[in-house]
Each structure stands twice: as C-alpha cells, then as structure tokens.
Symmetry: C2
Subunit: 333 residues, 2 copies
C-alpha cells in the first residue's frame, strides 16, 4: 500500500513539474551574468508563455531565428566555411593541375589568402563553387562531417564545433524548453550546417535556413540523386533573410538574434510584427576570451545595426560584461 | 486514502495510454475500408513506431510528404488555384481596362476559359503573375482567405476547403498521432496554401512547400514589407519536388503520397532511402462520388506513375473500392 502511494506521489510530481515550473526554479542560463540582457530574455519568455497574459503567444507561433556566424559560433579570424574552402581546394588540387597556375586557386595553394581574396566576391564565388558543387547532396554532407571531425581552429586549436558560444547553447535550450521553435538563418551554406546543427545546437535540418547552390534531380544507375551545381541559388544575407524566413517558415518570428549588419533586416522584419517581439545583437567586446570588433570589421561588421539597436531599444549583449563563460568546456557536447 | 489511490490509478492510466496504444485499440481511419491500402498503412506505421523493432524510426525522422491537388483535395474540373485566378482577373478588371482587348485576359472576362488557356503555359503564367503579384505577402494571404470564405466549387456547391478527402484527413491525423511530421509538397502556390492548411489539415505554414514567385524586402513608410514580384521563383513539380524537399526539410521522407505523374520523382526519391519506406498513389476511380481519370487526363495525369507503382509494389488506392466516404460532412472542420 505504501508503495502504491509512493508511486502515485512520484507520478503526480512528474506530471506537475512542467518545463515552465523548472524554468522558474532553476537557472536556465548560468553562463549569463545577471545583467540587463539576461533579465530582458527571461522577462520576454515569461510574457509570451504565461497563459492568460495579454502577451501570451501560442507555442506554434513562438518562432525564434538565429544568425549562425558570430551569433552562435565564432567567425574570427575567418568564417569557418572559408577555412573549409581552403582545405578543400588543397584536397582537390591533385585532380586540378591547372589550379597551380590559375587564380584564385594558385594563391590559395601558395597559402596566400589575401591575394586569393583580393578578387573580391567573384573570387570567393569561384572558390565556393569549385569546392561545394560537383557532388551529390549525400556526398557533400559526408565531406563536411569528415572535415569537421579533424579540422582545428587556427588560434585556439579547438574543433570548430567547440567554438560555439556556451551562453547561446543555454539560450537555445531555454527557448526550446519554453515551447519555442528555434531556426538558424545564416549567410552560410544550408548544406554546410545541416550535418551537425542537430547534434551541436539541438536544431534539426528542417529548421536550418541558409545560402544555397542549385541542385538538380538526376537518375544514376536507376537510383535518384540530387546533384549540386556550381550556381548560386540564394544568398541568405541582409534583405535575403526575411525573404528566406518567409519562404521556409511562412510566419514572422517573435524573436531574432544576430551580430552584424547582415542580420539587420531580419531583426527589422521580426520587430515589425504585432504583439511582443524580442531583438538581440551579440556585440563582440571581449578581445581576451574571444574577439573585439564592430563598426570597422570586414567580418561581421556591426555598424548600422548597432545604431538601430540603440535607437529602438533592442537588447545588446556586451560579451565581456554579460557572459561569464564564452566557449563550452571541451567535450560538453 | 481511497481517493489518493484512485488518482494514482488514473494518472498511471493516462501515462500508459500512449498514442501507439490508442492507435492499436481504436480505428484511426474509419473512412477507409478494410482493404489492402489501409492494412499496408497500419502495418507500415506499426513497423516504424515499435520500439526495439529493426525498422524503428526515431520520431524526428518520421517525415511524410503529401501532394495537395488530387491527393488531399479535389482538382476537378480545374485546379482550385485556377478558379481563384479567374475570379481574381474579374475582380481586378476595372483597374485594367486594357484587359478587355488583351489576351488571355479578354477571354477570361468573356468566360471563355478554353481560349484563355489555348496559349498554353505562357498564358497561364501571364494570368498567374497578374493575379498573384503586386501585393505584399500579408495582403495576398488576406486575399486568399477572403476568396476561400465565399467561393464555391462549380459542380458540388461546396466551399473549396470542403472538397478535401475525409480519408486523407484521417490519415494525416493518424500519422501525426504516430509521431510523424506531415509536409505538403504541392505544385500549387506556397502562399496560396499557407493561409488555410493549418486549420483544414493540421499542417502549419512551415510544413507547406509549393511553387513560389519572387519576393523582395522593401521599406514602406519605415515599415518592412515583402513585396510579391511577377516572376516565377520555383516550380514545385516533377523533378522540382525532391529538390524542394531537400531545400526545405533537409532529410529524406520515409513516406510519400501523391496522385499524378507530377509526384513520381517525389515518390522515387522517398523510396530510394535506406530502411522502411512507404509510397502511395491515390487513383481516381469513382465517377459518382468524385471523378475517374488517369492516363489520358490533362489534369492530374497518372500514367508513368501507375506503371511504376505496379512494378515496384507501391500502394495504390482505388478510391471507389477503398474509401467508404470521400468528402467530409460539411462543418466537420
């Protein structure tokens, strides 16, 4: 009899301890200092998840969008995908003897990245297509996975997936536990992210939006494949982000997180909806634990965005002051 | 004491009665006769949802894709979206006096649809762009909603959303309750479907994939909008369907449902994955309750698809024999 009563109490406890109750009793974001940004996040989540509140948002409409480079993981000294491109040019070089003489490939093979990128967007596009196309979608996913398994960040020696921000991992988990659906909306390649975002961020492939190249359906030996063509299909940056959000999600997010001017239109689009909205910029202010850059940076420039954040009262994370940890202890995920 | 024990038993019962247990004890699809297709569906769902089974598929990977026209709702005597186009040409005509003389608009306004469509794909594209572009995304959603609220099907007098198939509604619910994520993958317009698919099918906007026109981010009086441009962006038909599935979902479905040759590549792509797969064609064989058409039809032609279904042993629904109800009683949803 006592056992039955104990089981009953245990079952009732489990039934009562909903994520909302947990969130209220445990600190869901221990890597955030108790400064303004954390308070703003927790207050916003409470507003939209409290049943009966005027600002209550049904779970299906709790859409949050996150930029990736510089918002969820580091983007210095170069975008991770550029490091992938460089390594892949070297790997493919034996099959392309002409690259020894042909720019921008020759410069990459000489280790002279500055010269390789001196050709601007055109050079970058050429390098991207040569290293991202020509395989099936399945082959490309394996190539990305194999590269991530061994590649190391040039200054920290960590794996690239170890260069994600611990406070943002906690934020993703906290929002997910609060009934939010988290999406990535990155200027990076959609197929470059999908192989690992579920394991690292808890974000499944269908919630990853990014830039893409054209793919084509083809029958090979009676088996259908999707072949990646050397042609840009969509550039998911700046004005492209709201367009892609509308195409992939079909509803306006209620929360948006970015770190650069490339995210500004996404934040504007989010902020312009009716009802409660939350917009946040991560400001890179920590040269010791990470990097410090904003208005003058070539990578992740935050200039107009910072002005607009200040003018509109959006939340700005001062990385140095607001985060007590930046990167996770190795091996956490 | 007795009360506590009763509560304990009740709580335990609720905890035990998982959807899988419900599915085994209640008939989840009463509008389906107990013929081969229903048995094949139930058997497949049991295979992929039974923990410990060799064919078990984790919930996140239980992706099902559905064509819309002719698979989830009727497509005769013309695609619903074409009826919308005709009504919209008439509605916009006062703002376009030139249409009185200009084909294909003049023919539509004379009520001569055959002549209007004699111009083939070019004429249809022209009509589509004139009636689907020029508004913001939000305005267009309202236009679709307002039209659906009053438009009636020409032969049944029902609302168009009353022309959905009751057996397919039950199938969607059954799969959803079994941990599947249902997607629409339609040749129809993505923004033409999203305003109503959640209410009618239980499928939220982010799980709707379709053809699209280009949209552009624009600031109007300081407020961001997405403007619909008269330019086809993506044609989600035939080879386009696997491409769109890959772009939007990023994983291969384990189940696919269609009714025409336009769905063949989607079914091939689904079938080609490893592990258990389920492909089904709805065959329109019921001239009394619905329509009968296949190899010779201009709308929803099912020719190559029928051959491949027979050759590969895919499930083919004989609408007349396998469904005891076709359309829902009015007002069910």
């Amino acid at each position: 009899m006592k056992n039955i009563r104990r089981i009953a109490v245990a079952v009732l406890l489990v039934a009562l301890l909903s994520p909302a109750v947990f969130a209220a009793t445990l600190d869901p974001m221990p890597s955030w200092n108790d400064t303004a940004p954390k308070k703003a996040i927790v207050e916003f989540v409470a507003r939209v998840t409290t049943t009966g509140s005027a600002d209550f948002v049904p779970p299906g409409e709790r859409i949050a969008v996150f930029d990736n480079d510089g918002t969820l993981w580091a983007e210095q000294p170069m975008y991770t995908q550029l490091a992938f491109i460089i390594d892949r040019v070297k790997e493919l070089a034996p099959q392309h003897p002409e690259w020894q003489e042909q720019e921008p490939f020759a410069a990459v093979l000489r280790g002279d990245l500055a010269s390789a990128l001196a050709g601007g967007e055109h050079a970058l596009l050429e390098l991207s297509m040569a290293t991202h196309a020509g395989t099936t979608t399945e082959e490309f996913a394996q190539i990305v996975e194999a590269w991530l398994a061994t590649a190391k960040h040039p200054t920290t020696g960590r794996s690239y997936t170890g260069m994600v921000y611990q406070p943002m991992l906690e934020l993703l988990d906290y929002l997910h536990a609060s009934g939010f659906k988290n999406y990535i909306t990155s200027g990076g390649g959609i197929e470059f992210m999908r192989p690992w975002t579920e394991e690292i961020y808890g974000i499944p492939p269908e919630q990853v939006i990014g830039s893409s190249i054209r793919t084509e359906f083809e029958m090979r030996d009676g088996r259908p494949v999707l072949v990646r063509l050397p042609e840009l299909s969509f550039n998911d940056d700046k004005e492209g982000k709201p367009v892609a959000i509308n195409l992939h999600i079909g509803r306006r997010p209620i929360a948006a997180f970015g770190n650069s001017d490339g995210d500004l239109q996404m934040l504007q689009w989010t902020a312009a909806g009716e009802g409660p909205r939350f917009c946040l910029y991560v400001h890179h202010t920590d040269p010791e634990r990470e990097w410090a850059y904003d208005r003058e940076s070539h990578i992740g420039r935050l200039d107009k965005g910072l002005d607009e954040a200040n003018a509109r009262g959006w939340t700005v994370v001062d990385m140095k002051a607001d985060w007590n940890e930046v990167f996770p202890s190795e091996g956490v995920r």
